[in-house]
C-alpha cells in the first residue's frame, strides 16, 4: 500500500467554545484531485488553512509527504515539507500590483531569483496559460475569470506539489465555473500536482474529482470515489448531494430522490417492480437545457400519474425528466400500459410547431435485479439507447 501524499489524522480546531474540526481524518493520494464538500460555515476553509499552516490545529497531525506543513511565520513545520500553494476564495491578488508582479511575488520575495529571471518565468507561464495580454494590467482591470487564472498562475509559478483550492468558482457564472473546473483538471494533468479542493458545485466538481470527501459536524462522514455517492446511505449526505432534486420534489409537493436512496432496501422488500417515467426529447434548443418548459410538462405528467390514484402513492422525483414509484405484484402487468395511456394528453401537448417536444413514457424494472438506485440509471440509459428515435 502506498503512503498517502497528504495525511490528516485526528485534527481538532476550536475558536473559543465553538468546535469547528472535531477529529478530521483524510488521506490524499499523490497526483489526485480530491474535493471536500459540505454545507457553508462547517469549517472546510479552516481545514485548508490548517493544512497550509495558517491555523495551528489544537490536536492531531497533518503530514505532507511525511512532513508537517510550514509557512513563513509557523516555525513548527518542517523545512523539508513539499511546497504548497493556496488558491483563495477571493483570489487574494494584491490590488496595487500588476498581474505580472502578483505572479512574480513568490519568486522575487522568497528565492534567489532576480527580477529579470522571474519576469521571464512569469511570461513563459502566462504564455502557457493564455494570459499574455493581462501581464501589465491591475486586478481591477481584468474580469473575475481572468483574476482566477492569474491567481492560479501565482499558485503554479513555484511548481508546488500540492495546491489547495478554496471554493475556486465562487462568484462566477455557470460558464466560467465550468471553465475553472476544466482548467483545474487540465493544469493538474500538465503540471502534475496534487489538488485538494473545497467546492459546493455538484455535480460539476465531481466530474473532475478522483475522490470526494463530505464534511459534516466537524468530521469527514464520507470519503470515496464520486460514483460511490450514488450508493451512500447517509440521509444528510443524500440531501446535500441531491439538493437539486429535492427542489423539484418540494416544488411538486412530493418526496424525492433522497428518500429513494435512503429507503431503497425497504422499497425492494415492499414492491415487486419499480416503474420509471421518463421524458425523451427529440432535439435540444437553447433554453431547453434550463428545463423550464420541460418542468411544466413534468408537472403535467406527475398530475396524470396522480390521477391514476394508485394505492402506493409515493412518487420519487429523480431529476427534471425522471420520476418513478414502486409497484406491487398484482399490478405489474398492466401498470406501464395504464401510465402510457394516462400520459397521452401530456404528450399531445407537444405540438409539431414547438421547437422542443417532450415525449413521456414508462419502463418497469424488477427490483430483485436492481441492487441500488445507481443500477437503475444504467438500465434506464440502456432502455433509452435501445428505443427508436422519435421523429421531429
Amino acid at each position: 500500500m502506498s503512503t498517502p501524499f497528504l495525511e490528516i489524522r485526528g485534527v481538532r480546531k476550536s475558536f473559543g467554545d465553538h468546535v469547528v474540526l472535531d477529529g478530521i481524518n483524510l488521506s490524499v493520494d499523490r497526483g489526485s484531485i480530491t474535493t471536500i464538500m459540505g454545507k457553508s460555515g462547517i469549517g472546510k476553509s479552516v481545514l485548508l488553512k490548517c493544512i497550509a499552516g495558517i491555523h495551528k490545529p489544537d490536536a492531531g497531525e497533518i503530514l505532507i509527504n511525511g512532513h508537517p506543513p510550514r509557512t513563513a511565520t509557523n516555525c513548527s513545520g518542517s523545512p523539508e515539507a513539499p511546497r504548497l500553494s493556496y488558491l483563495f476564495q477571493q483570489n487574494a491578488l494584491f490590488d496595487s500590483f500588476t498581474a505580472m508582479e502578483n505572479v512574480a511575488l513568490p519568486l522575487v520575495e522568497t528565492g534567489r531569483t532576480t527580477r529579470r529571471v522571474a519576469r521571464e518565468k512569469v511570461l513563459k507561464l502566462f504564455a502557457d496559460l493564455d494570459l499574455g495580454d493581462v501581464a501589465n494590467k491591475y486586478p481591477s482591470q481584468i474580469s473575475g475569470g481572468m483574476q482566477k487564472r492569474v491567481a492560479l498562475a501565482r499558485a503554479l509559478i513555484t511548481q508546488p506539489r500540492l495546491i489547495l483550492f478554496d471554493e475556486p468558482t465562487t462568484g462566477l457564472d455557470p460558464q466560467r465555473k465550468n471553465s475553472v473546473f476544466s482548467m483545474v483538471a487540465d493544469y493538474q494533468r500538465r503540471f502534475d500536482f496534487t489538488a485538494l479542493m473545497v467546492s459546493h458545485d455538484i455535480p460539476e466538481a465531481l466530474f473532475v474529482s478522483d475522490r470526494v470527501a463530505w464534511m459534516d459536524r466537524g468530521q469527514m462522514r464520507f470519503v470515496g470515489p464520486p460514483t460511490d455517492l450514488e450508493i451512500a446511505r447517509d440521509p444528510a449526505l443524500l440531501e446535500f448531494v441531491h439538493h437539486r432534486n429535492e427542489l423539484l420534489s418540494e416544488l411538486a409537493g412530493q418526496h424525492g430522490r433522497t428518500t429513494l436512496f435512503a429507503d431503497w432496501a425497504e422499497l425492494r422488500r415492499t414492491y415487486e417492480q419499480f416503474v420509471v417515467v421518463s421524458c425523451a426529447t427529440e432535439r435540444r434548443r437553447p433554453g431547453s437545457e434550463l428545463g423550464l418548459r420541460r418542468f411544466a410538462s413534468y408537472q403535467a405528467a406527475v398530475a396524470c400519474i396522480h390521477e391514476l390514484k394508485r394505492p402506493h402513492g409515493q412518487i420519487y422525483f429523480l431529476d427534471e425528466r425522471h420520476f418513478g414509484f414502486g409497484v406491487g405484484p398484482a399490478e405489474t402487468d398492466t401498470v406501464v400500459e395504464e401510465i402510457d395511456s394516462a400520459l397521452k394528453p401530456v404528450n399531445d401537448l407537444s405540438t409539431p410547431a414547438q421547437a422542443t417536444r417532450y415525449r413521456w413514457s414508462a419502463n418497469s424494472y424488477r427490483l430483485a435485479m436492481v441492487s441500488n438506485p445507481a443500477t437503475l440509471w444504467i438500465l434506464e440509459d440502456q432502455a433509452e439507447m435501445a428505443a427508436p428515435p422519435t421523429s421531429p
Partner: protein
Amino acid sequence: MIANAGRLTLDSIHELGRFSIFVARALGSLFQLRAFPSKLARSIFEMGVRCWPIILTVGCFTGLVVGLEGYNTLSKFGSEYALGATVSISIISELGPVLAALMIVGQAGSALAAELGIQRNSEQIDALETMGINPLGFFVGPRLIAALIIFPLHTAFFDIVGIVGGYITGVVLMGQEHGVYWQSVHNSVHVHDVSWGFVKALVFGFTITAICSYEGFNTHRRSSEPGARGVSQSTTRAVVYSSIAVLALDYLITAVQVSP
C-alpha cells in the same frame, strides 16, 4: 466589579505582551526581507510625500495662531520682543512634534490601519504566509523604519513652517522689526531643545506606526464585527490609541527632559 477590573487589567497586560511580540517580530523579520531599499522607499513615499501638504497647512496655521496669541499676551507686559522665543520654543519643544504626529496619525496612520485591515479580510496576508513570505516583514517592518526617517523630517518641516507663521503674524501683520524676531529665535533656541523635539518625533513615529500596523494586522481578532465594519473599528482604534499614546509619551518625555 473587582473581578471585572482584574480581568480588564489581565487582558490589557496580555494585549501589551502581544503588541510587544508583534513589534519584535516585525523588526526581526527585516533581516530576512528581500529588496528592502525599494520597500523602504515605497513606505517613505506613502508616509512622507503624501503627508507634507497637511503638515504645511497645520504648521503654518499653528505658527500664525501662536504668533497672534503670543504677541497679544506679551504686549500686555511690554515684552513683544520675546515673540520669536515664545513661538520657536513652544513649536520646537511641544507643538511641532505633537501636532505633526497627530496629523500623520490622521493621514497615514488611519490609511495604514485600513489598508492592513482590508488586506487581512481579503486574505492577502494569509496569501503571503502560504507563499513563504513573512507578512510582518513585507508590510510592517519597512514602515517602522520609514517612520524613524519621516517623523523627524516632518517635525523639522513643521517647526520651520510654524516659526515662519509666527514671523508672518509678528512682523508682517503686527509690525514688529524682523531683526528683533529672528534675534529672539536665535537667542532662545538651543541644540538641546531641538534634540528633544527630535527624540519625541522618533518615539512618536515608531509608536504610532506600530499601533496602527498592529490594529490593522489584527482586524480579524480585535474587531467585534467582520468585514467593512471590522476595518472601520480597527481604524478608529488605531487613531484613538495612537493619539492617546502621543499625548502620554509627550508628557513622559517632557518630564524626563525637564528633570534636573
